[in-house]
């Protein structure tokens, strides 16, 4: 398994973000059993696996929302630590969570700048947490982020998120990750709640991120989408790597087989 991985690694572009030997336990559940993962700039890495394979857990570890029990992080081959969400943000890692992680009681603008609220200048004598918010700046930024994503149905950035449709919420979660200063964007099933047209928009966003030299991680159960946008496909099973394929050199059946049966399809890997 490891040798296989190395082989693909050599053919691939140099990794921007990579992790080695990630272990994560939740009480008795061994969710990640020494997972290796990497993504390069200008590349879309798909992450696939059955329900409960550990995809979301791996993403959360990369985003600092979970702390790995063991494992190393490298950014451009330099060892880094990601021990909190702020560490990840500082390293330019952004994520769209599977559950979106929005605050329904706050408006769109507030959600888009959550945790990174702009404050007015000239209040330096106060601790940052107590400086006046620049609400207008917040709304201007939100407007831009929303316009970039072309969410036409969203009337006002002052609308409470609790009153929006599932698709609109998903768009806001994506806008939050894409709008921030970042080099890595990870999307955990971003099209799960979307219709055909909106799914197209998200796929376009993913492609645009690749064109702008971002490193993109894309989790989905939809093979068609994966084969449309991804450059490589990393398969997880039971919290461990199965293998990583180049998208151009594989097909959906192979991926599904790897997801469900893992090592059984060793023979097919040669293709």
């Amino acid at each position: 398994m490891t040798s296989n991985k190395e082989m693909v690694g050599q053919a691939a572009p140099p990794a921007h973000l990579s992790v080695r030997g990630i272990q994560k336990r939740f009480g008795g559940v061994h969710a990640l059993k020494g997972v290796n993962f990497e993504v390069a700039r200008g590349e879309v890495m798909a992450l696939v696996g059955d329900n409960g394979a550990g995809k979301s857990t791996l993403m959360k570890v990369l985003a600092g929302a979970h702390i790995a029990d063991e494992g190393q992080f490298y950014l451009d081959d330099k060892p880094v630590t990601v021990a909190s969400p702020n560490d990840a943000t500082d390293l330019g890692i952004q994520i769209v969570y599977q559950d979106l992680a929005l605050c329904q009681n706050l408006d769109v603008a507030a959600n888009l700048s959550l945790g990174d609220e702009p404050v007015k200048s000239g209040w330096g004598f106060l601790p940052r947490l107590l400086r006046p918010l620049d609400i207008l700046e917040m709304e201007v930024k939100a407007r831009k982020a929303i316009d970039r994503l072309e969410v036409r149905t969203l009337q006002s950035v002052r609308a409470k998120v609790g009153g929006l449709s599932g698709g609109q919420r998903q768009a806001i979660a994506i806008a939050r990750a894409v709008g921030a200063e970042s080099s890595v964007v990870m999307l955990d099933e971003p099209t799960a709640a979307l219709g055909v047209a909106q799914t197209r928009q998200v796929l376009e966003v993913v492609k645009r991120l690749r064109e702008t030299n971002h490193a993109v991680v894309y989790i989905s159960h939809n093979m068609r989408d994966i084969f449309e946008v991804s450059d490589r496909i990393c398969v997880l099973r039971h919290g461990a790597n199965v293998t990583t394929y180049k998208t151009s050199e594989t097909d959906p059946d192979t991926i599904v087989a790897a997801m469900t049966r893992g090592l059984d399809n060793e023979a097919k890997n040669g293709n």
């Binding site: 985003a63 329904q104 706050l106 918010l133 207008l136 009153g163």
Partner: protein
């Protein structure tokens, strides 16, 4: 997406409560109903039935309104603090007991000859400490706030009894008494009111202008001027009424000032934003890097501080500290009731400290009105219970996510 016409009444109501001033509408209506009942309906009824020699007509007299504001002030101080932890989705059952301990210590200190202002600072520090200690237990040990503050309630009640073995202590210190006794001269009070209204209007209009120049949607002129005028009329009317009996008491000015500061902190700073975020979705807040545990500790520190200030105000107003006025009485439930009646959600993430002030006025008016009509303590309890239940029901129904899909 949905057209205006298709909005049901409930949707409209929810939408109303989501707007900045709309959230005041239910509590203002409640206040108007109570004042209308005690101030207009009952006297009119008496007039029609020929009982002219009645006390009831005095409800809306300046003297009674003055008393009513002062009676509500201690409740309001605690309610404002409690609102801050309610925003997080937590609760503080120990606030009144904390106020009691602080007031008792204040009484003992000034009796021992400690200068009034030093004693006030000491008890404010103590109150903050008591809040922070409970906050640490909630945040870092992970005990639900209900349990921690219930334990606090019991423990602090005991502590107050230890400090005041007789259960009663007179406070004669001039500095402490001053909060309730010092009156702002009529003209100064009025000038202050006008200044506040003008500042409010300028801030609002300037913000609208800035919205325009930055290409953001503006509120309708009706909404903007409606807010300014409603605010102005209320402020000036209150000051004129208070002036026509005595004058604006320092205590009320301080209460409004502190509330304004907390109101600003909760709505217009990153810290305040994090209170709402944690109350709305604590896990999201954590994942965007907010220090949820510290935020919680800070909120409990604030409620502790407000409880201490409530204790000082109470001691100042009554001129004494008694067990029943604070820890052992109905103050706690009145304060929590005030916050909730004001429109702050028990589920976290929605509310405002200004609503707590109005909620305290509702509770205060109810008690005052029932007293004037000679209602028994039993009646008062039952009516208060009904009003509280109504407020919580409105809260539950108007939660935006009560029906998850729209």
């Amino acid at each position: 997406m949905e057209t205006e016409a298709k909005l049901s009444f409930l949707d409209r109501f929810r939408a109303l409560r989501e707007t900045q001033f709309g959230s005041f509408v239910p509590v203002l209506l409640a206040l108007a109903a109570i004042w209308g009942y005690f101030g207009l309906a009952l006297p009119l009824f008496d007039l029609l039935t020929g009982e002219e020699e009645t006390f009831r007509a005095i409800f809306l007299s300046p003297r009674n309104i003055y008393n009513l504001f002062m009676q509500s002030a201690v409740i309001a101080t605690l309610a404002v603090g409690i609102t801050v932890v309610l925003l997080l989705g937590d609760i503080d059952l120990s606030a009144a007991a904390t106020a009691g301990v602080c007031a008792a210590l204040l009484g003992v200190l000034v009796l021992a000859g400690v200068p009034g202002w030093t004693a006030c600072l000491i008890v404010m520090a103590l109150g903050t400490f008591m809040g922070v200690a409970q906050g640490i237990l909630v945040s870092y040990v992970g005990i639900p706030s209900f349990v921690v503050t219930l334990a606090g309630l019991l423990g602090f009640q005991g502590l107050m009894q230890k400090i005041l073995p007789t259960g009663n202590l007179n406070v004669g210190n001039d500095f402490v008494r001053g909060f309730a006794r010092v009156l702002i001269p009529d003209m100064w009070g009025l000038a202050l009111g006008v200044l506040v209204v003008v500042a409010f209007a300028v801030a609002n209009l300037r913000q609208q202008a800035q919205r325009g120049t930055r290409g953001l949607e503006r509120d309708t002129p009706f909404a903007v001027w409606g807010q300014v005028i409603a605010f102005g009329v209320m402020v000036i009317a209150v000051i004129l009424i208070l002036n026509s009996y005595r004058s604006l008491p320092l205590l009320l000015v301080l209460l409004v000032g502190i509330t304004a500061l907390l109101g600003w902190i909760t709505t217009s700073t990153p810290f305040g934003r994090s209170l709402f975020a944690v109350g709305g979705n604590a896990e999201s807040a954590r994942r965007v890097g907010m220090k949820v545990k510290r935020i919680r500790v800070a909120a409990f520190g604030i409620v502790g501080l407000m409880a201490a200030i409530g204790g000082i105000f109470g001691a100042s107003r009554f001129g004494s500290v008694s067990y029943t006025a604070f820890a052992g009485g109905s103050l706690l439930l009145e304060a929590i009731g005030a916050a909730v009646i004001g429109g702050t959600s028990l589920f976290g993430g929605r509310g405002s400290v200004w609503n707590a002030i109005l909620g305290a006025l509702v509770i205060g008016s109810l008690g005052n009105g029932l007293d004037l009509t000679g209602a028994s303590a039993a009646d008062k309890l039952m009516v208060s219970g009904a009003i509280l239940l109504l407020a919580v029901a409105i809260d539950a129904v108007s939660r935006a996510d009560a029906g998850s899909e729209r």
